[in-house]
Homo-oligomer: 312 residues x 2
C-alpha cells in the first residue's frame, strides 16, 4: 500500500548484509532481550518520541516475529502457571478473527478464549485484549469488561497518524506494535512490545526463546533502517531530503481510499459505513477523523465491484 | 564458527534489499506454503541433491522461523485434535534439553512430554522425536520405542558432512533442517521441513500462520543466497572461484576442534569422550568419524580451561 513512498527513497532504506554478518543467535548480551538488535531498540524509542503515540520511559522493549508472536508471548507471560483452570481471554466484539484461534491453537491449559468482553461476567481473573483503533472496525477502544482487576494487553498496531488521531501517548502496562501496519512492511515480520513489569518482559522473552530462539536479525536491521527514515522524514519534512513526512503521504493514501469507498457504497445504496467523529491529532496538530486500515485490499475490491455494478 | 569461510566470499553472499521490496505478507500464492520465497525452495532442493542427505522428491517444503518453530508446528500437525487426552511426545535420552520445555510450554491439551523413548511402554499413540546425529551426544539415532505405529519426527539439524558421514539420503515422513547448523547462520532463524503427507504440511502451515503469520522474507532471501553459494562451492571446488567446498572447510574446523578437545581431556585425566566408529561418507567418498557440533563454544572453553589447568 505504501510502496509508492518507499520506491523514490532510493538507497536511504536499502540494507546491505554481507554473508558473514549477523550469524550468531545473540544481538546484545547486555540486554534482557538478548536477541534484539540495539539499533532497532534505539529507533523504536525514537519513532514513539517523534510521533508521540507511546511512552517508552520505564518500559522494557521486547522484539517479536510480528505482533502475533508477541501476543502469544504476552498470554504466556500473564497467565498464572499454577492455576487449576486456564485464565479467560476476552476482547470486545467485533474482534480480530485470529484472537480465538491463536489463544486456543494447542488447547492451552493456562489460557482459554472466553469471547466478547462486553458480556464477560465471571467472577475470576481474566486477560482483556484491547485493540485500539479496533481491528476490524477502526473505533477507538477502552477496556470493556465491566469491572476492575483485569489484566490488559493493548494491541496498538493501528495507533499511527495515518489511521487515527494521535490524542495522547499510550501509557499502558503492555502495548504491542508492528511495522506491518506502521510502515507497511509486513514481509519483515517484526513487531515490538513495550512492557512495564520486568518479570512479564522476562517471561515473554522466555516464550520467544522456546518458540523461535529469537527473531531474524536481518529483518530487525531492515526495520531499524525503515523506522529511522520515517523519523527523519517527520523531522525534516519540507526540506531537500524529504518533501513530505511518511505519515503525511500515508494519511493522504488512506483518505483517498476512504473517499472512493464511501462514494461507491453511497452509489450502491446497499450498505452503510460508520462515521467517525473528528478528534485532535497531536502529530498533525489538526482535527481529523479515523481511517481504519484493516482490509484495505478488500476495500479496493469493493470499490471496484460497486463501481462496476453501478456503471453496468 | 564458520565466519572465516564466509568473510573471504565477498559479494557472493551479500544481499541488498531496497526499502520497497518484500513488503507483502505473501511470497508465492501458488504454493501451499504461501509465505515461502520460491528461490529458497529452489536452493533447498538443490543443496539436498548436492549433499545427498535427503530425498526431496514427493515432499512438501515448509519454511519456518528456525527449526524450533517447525518442531512445534509438527507437534500441532501430528497431534489428534479430538482426543480426550494429549498424545505422548518422547525422545531417547539424552535428548535436546528444550524438547520438554517446548512441548509443554503452554500446557497443551493436544500433546504432552512423556520422557525417554527407551522406557516408554504405554499402549497408546505417541510421537517420537528422532534426532540424528543426536543433540547433545552426536550419535546416529533410529526410533527407540520398542514397537511399531509411532508417529516419527526426524530432527536432522546436524545431518551434514562436517558433523557426520552422509550414509544415505534421509527418506522420512517428516524431517527438519536449519541453516543454524548447516551453514552456521543462526541469526537468520531459518529452518525447513520436508513433509510427505500434504495434510500434515497444511496443518504445519496453519500453525505458522497463527504463530507468526509467515517467516521473515529478508532472512529467506539471505538463506537462499548462502545455500546457493554452498552448492556452488561443492560443485566448483578446486576451481578459480572456490578453492574448497564449504563442507571441506567446516569439516576441517570441526576436526581441529575435536583434536584440541580430545588432547585437553586426555591431559586432564578427569573426563572421557565417546569414540565414534568411522563410516563411509558418500559426500566425501571416504571413511570418516562423527564430530558432534553441539556446544562448540563450551568445547572451546573446556579446551582453554584444561590447557590452563595443565599448564599451571
Amino acid at each position: 500500500m505504501y510502496e509508492q513512498y518507499w520506491k523514490p527513497m532510493g538507497d536511504k532504506t536499502t540494507i546491505v548484509i554481507p554473508g558473514w554478518q549477523s550469524m550468531s543467535y545473540f544481538s546484545d548480551v547486555t540486554n534482557l532481550c538478548w536477541f534484539m538488535e540495539p539499533e532497532l531498540a534505539k529507533q523504536i524509542v525514537r519513532i514513539h518520541k517523534v510521533v508521540g503515540n507511546a511512552v517508552t520511559e520505564g518500559r522494557h522493549i521486547v522484539v517479536g516475529t510480528g505482533s502475533s508472536q508477541l501476543l502469544l508471548a504476552a498470554l504466556y507471560a500473564l497467565s498464572p502457571q499454577d492455576s487449576s483452570n486456564p485464565i479467560s481471554v476476552v476482547s470486545a466484539a467485533p474482534y480480530y478473527s485470529s484472537y480465538p484461534l491463536m489463544t486456543d491453537c494447542v488447547k492451552s491449559g493456562i489460557h482459554k478464549w472466553a469471547g466478547d468482553a462486553k458480556i464477560f461476567d465471571k467472577d475470576e481473573p481474566y486477560i482483556e485484549l484491547v485493540t485500539s483503533p479496533n481491528n476490524p472496525d477502526g473505533f477507538v477502544r477502552h477496556p470493556m469488561v465491566n469491572r476492575t482487576g483485569g489484566i490488559l494487553v493493548h494491541d496498538l498496531a493501528y495507533y499511527w497518524p495515518q489511521y487515527t488521531p494521535i490524542s495522547t501517548p499510550a501509557d499502558n502496562d503492555l502495548s504491542l506494535f508492528t511495522v506491518s501496519k506502521s510502515t507497511g512492511h509486513a514481509g519483515l515480520r517484526i513487531g515490538w512490545a513495550l512492557v512495564k513489569d520486568v518479570e512479564v518482559a522476562k517471561r515473554m522473552i522466555k516464550f520467544i526463546e522456546l518458540n523461535t530462539i529469537g527473531v531474524s536479525k536481518d529483518s530487525q536491521l531492515r526495520a531499524a533502517k525503515v523506522l529511522e527514515v520515517v523519523s527523519d522524514s517527520c523531522e525534516q519534512a519540507g526540506g531537500s531530503e524529504y518533501t513530505e513526512s511518511f505519515f503525511h503521504f500515508s494519511h493522504t493514501v488512506m483518505t483517498e481510499r476512504w473517499r472512493l469507498l464511501r462514494e461507491a457504497v453511497k452509489r450502491s445504496g446497499l450498505f452503510s459505513l460508520p462515521n467517525f467523529s473528528p478528534a485532535h491529532c497531536n502529530f498533525f496538530d489538526n482535527n481529523l477523523g479515523t481511517q481504519p486500515g484493516k482490509n484495505n485490499k478488500i476495500f479496493v475490491y469493493m470499490v471496484y465491484f460497486f463501481l462496476k455494478v453501478v456503471q453496468s
